[in-house]
Symmetry: C2
Subunit: 483 residues, 2 copies
């Protein structure tokens, strides 16, 4: 079913970034990354959808200042200009350190965070104004549309539902998708009440609030009940609040398999495969951002533990870790990147020989090499402390050619879909992870093949198109139920 | 109602500690502390109750090895001897770092804990054997008793219900009281499944599982549902699991007001009052163990923030912090004690004058001075990150003579009962705490008096006797319902 009314997608990140060539012409590049890929699929599905996002580059700002809609290939885009200091407060003081840390449970609570007036300022002078900009741009885009649908995405935009309702009332159907974990009320209590209650009240002005997993949906309903006193029907997936009923749903996000199958045959990837295949022994792989939630340090330590317990594996495996730098200007991230380097070095120091380096750590963004690694791993380690979904697990399962085994944290969103054919691990337990790595590397071929096939089928049975279709279906049902 | 059958109380800590005088005679001292006081009240109520606890001192071990029950004043005691290394594993490797940290949410999860084989060893060679010792001693004590009731206490004994049922079957009524916070399932997931599921399965062999607050009871039911798949009736306070129905209840623990009113008039306290009353200006007080959950560092920093924002308060208030050393052999605690000293020093450095020291930090156990401080505070700061109950808030409210204002963390168990007349604070928000300190110290006399009176009444309306009575009542009801 294609949505026939007007559809507006809103996300902080835009699907394209504009720049100016040396000759002064406007050029653009299309963004990559899981969320943008997913929203591209939504945009394709909903013909003529408008996509509203933040202006990021200087040229983006020029585009934002031009009237009307910018049409690029199959996309119709409106860029929103924010005051740079407001954007900085929203992005670098509120969304990325605070909300990201709370929702992933990353704070060392006896010491951090130290909230206060600065938090309030980031909220009032950063988060609220940027969200208001989005709400206004959306309201403008909606004018004249019939049965409009607004799809709001992720933790940068929590206040948009409320601010948008103030502008346009109850007519548009609002769906809000949260792409990161929604923790239980106890973690939300870390935040000041104006944030934790403000966010909840705003989200409950939506018609549908959506998550990647049933667990997050359940936690959201528990939060609404406990922090706001809302009436909740956990089985039915509904929250009643302020005289309205909000549907709470889970749609596990996925990938476009064709995109990865195509990338897997690209010349860049084939070139990188030469490097990857020349690494000695079996291939253990991880591909992650250098984020505190990804558990890179414990991954190396667990691998070291495995080499300690199973000396016969020494020289017979290489751990290729593709870890992209991330948010290096936040002190906690700089310290974590350092801890990653140190812990990789410790394993190499303890077990390396002149002819064998146990860990090959690359802290650069190298997509072709990551895909080359996806194709060739014998075991893939995804041991996140917490992770909204983790698309690496899905991408890799589709293109792997070696019947590679997936080792998967029970706290990754992907665990709900993939657990039956992955080796589940507790991300805090080094010996559990060490045992899983060993088991993966010594698993009989028949079991490897069976698991790999089942994983691939699990991913192919719920692609990004299915993810979009399921949401469209529920939005139509919602419209029908409440019209 | 006095329980007429045989009642057995089991706790790790004993109500008395035995020692040997220089002349070789056996002597003993009665323990203090909230839990022991509470269980003394249970013991008084249930005439002839037997109290089983761990032998701690050398002389305790001798007592444990003598046959029969040891009668001391109004107490009937059986001490259990543990293998010292098993006890050390239970106490110093499993209960106090791991369970305490998880249940209070104190881990810096990107880095700690690093669980593994050592955890399994502490569980199998420490926690299980000591719990088995308790179960056996309890089974022995039960033999021949009619309608026996077993009251198990706290996080050192989680496996006793299961091990005891193995020995004696379904006949005894088992009540298990957890005195520390019960967090949501997400935090329990930090622990290996053999612990988190093992603990839950065992607790669900009890008839009643009890907590200090409704929030903990709710979290327990959510844990049973999510981690075990048990059927839960949150409104009715019941979990159905393994063909049995378990009642889940909350009974906010309290104090014996007479004990504190008496202590308040003791010569030692009167002497300490001279010191306390000579401190310059209004008196802000905190009394805590140096535990990572108590939030001592943020307390000093919030006080410093208040002095920064309200220069007129400088020289007109002293912050007396009685912080008892605790668990100094655990590295995290040693580091925290150092952070406490440093942060107090920073405030004194920034604002102190030759005639005024803003913070008086005493890191010694000085009960008379603490009671003297209780009597004389103008404001009491209880800003715990998380706290099972926090009896300081209740003790102090009863003996304070100054219409002192209670500043209370919304994450302390006491908050459910006392919030209406305390100033609630978010323990992570320095400015919120700074504002509450300022408001407390500048509050009009009439409001202070009204709040102080209401707090005192709230405590007096639910004393330790009421706490015991409520449990006895429910145990009788349970017996009736299932007989």
């Amino acid at each position: 079913m294609v949505h026939r009314g007007g559809m507006v997608i809103v996300s902080n990140r835009a699907p394209v970034t504009f720049s100016r060539s040396e000759s002064g012409e406007r050029t653009y590049s299309r963004g990559a990354g899981g969320l943008v890929t997913a929203l591209n699929a939504v945009s394709r599905r909903a013909e003529g959808a408008l996509w509203i996002a933040s202006a990021a580059s200087e040229e983006d700002v020029r585009v934002a200042r031009e009237p009307g809609v910018c049409e690029i290939e199959d996309l119709r885009i409106v860029l929103v200009e924010h005051d740079p200091s407001a954007y900085d407060l929203m992005y670098n003081h509120l969304a990325n350190p605070l909300l990201w840390f709370v929702q992933h449970g990353l704070y060392d609570l006896p010491y951090a965070p130290e909230l206060g007036g600065e938090t309030l300022r980031a909220w009032e002078e950063g988060y609220l104004p940027t969200n208001r900009n989005f709400a206004r741009a959306t309201a403008e885009a909606l004018s004249g549309l019939e049965s409009p649908v607004v799809l709001l995405h992720d933790y940068h935009l929590y206040m948009v539902p409320e601010l948008l309702r103030e502008e346009v009332g109850e007519e548009p159907l609002i769906s809000f998708f949260v792409h990161i974990p929604w923790p239980e009320p106890g973690l939300w209590r870390v935040l000041p009440s104006y944030i934790r209650e403000g966010v909840l009240r705003s989200l409950l002005r939506s018609d549908i609030v959506a998550f990647h997993t049933r667990r997050y949906a359940r936690n959201f309903m528990a939060s609404a009940a406990e922090l706001l006193g809302a009436e909740v029907d956990p089985r039915g997936g509904a929250v009643r609040w302020g005289g309205r009923e909000v549907w709470v749903r889970s749609y596990p996000i996925s990938i476009d398999p064709a995109e990865f199958e195509e990338a897997a045959e690209s010349p860049e990837v084939l070139r990188e495969e030469e490097y990857v295949r020349n690494l000695p022994g079996a291939l253990l792989v991880r591909v992650d951002r250098a984020d505190l939630s990804k558990n890179v340090v414990r991954g190396f330590r667990a691998y070291g533990r495995m080499l300690e317990l199973h000396p016969e594996m020494r020289g017979r495996v290489t751990f290729l870790a593709q870890v992209q730098p991330s948010r290096g200007d936040i002190p906690e991230y700089a310290a974590y990147a350092e801890a990653i380097r140190r812990s990789a070095g410790e394993v190499n120091e303890a077990f390396g020989t002149p002819s064998w380096r146990p860990v090959e750590l690359s802290m650069q963004d190298n997509f072709p090499r990551s895909v080359a690694a996806y194709k060739n791993y014998d075991a893939l380690l995804v041991n996140a402390v917490r992770d909204g979904m983790n698309l690496v697990a899905k991408e890799a399962a589709v293109v792997n050619r070696k019947d590679g085994v997936l080792i998967l944290s029970e706290n990754a969103g992907a665990h709900e879909e993939l657990k039956d054919n992955a080796l589940s691990v507790n991300p805090f337990d080094l010996d559990d992870q060490a045992a899983a790595i060993h088991r993966a590397l010594t698993m009989p071929a028949a079991e490897r093949a069976r698991r790999a096939r089942a994983l691939r089928e699990a991913v192919l049975s719920n692609t990004i198109e299915d993810w979009v279709a399921a949401q469209m279906h529920d939005m139509a049902a919602r419209r029908k139920a409440f019209s």
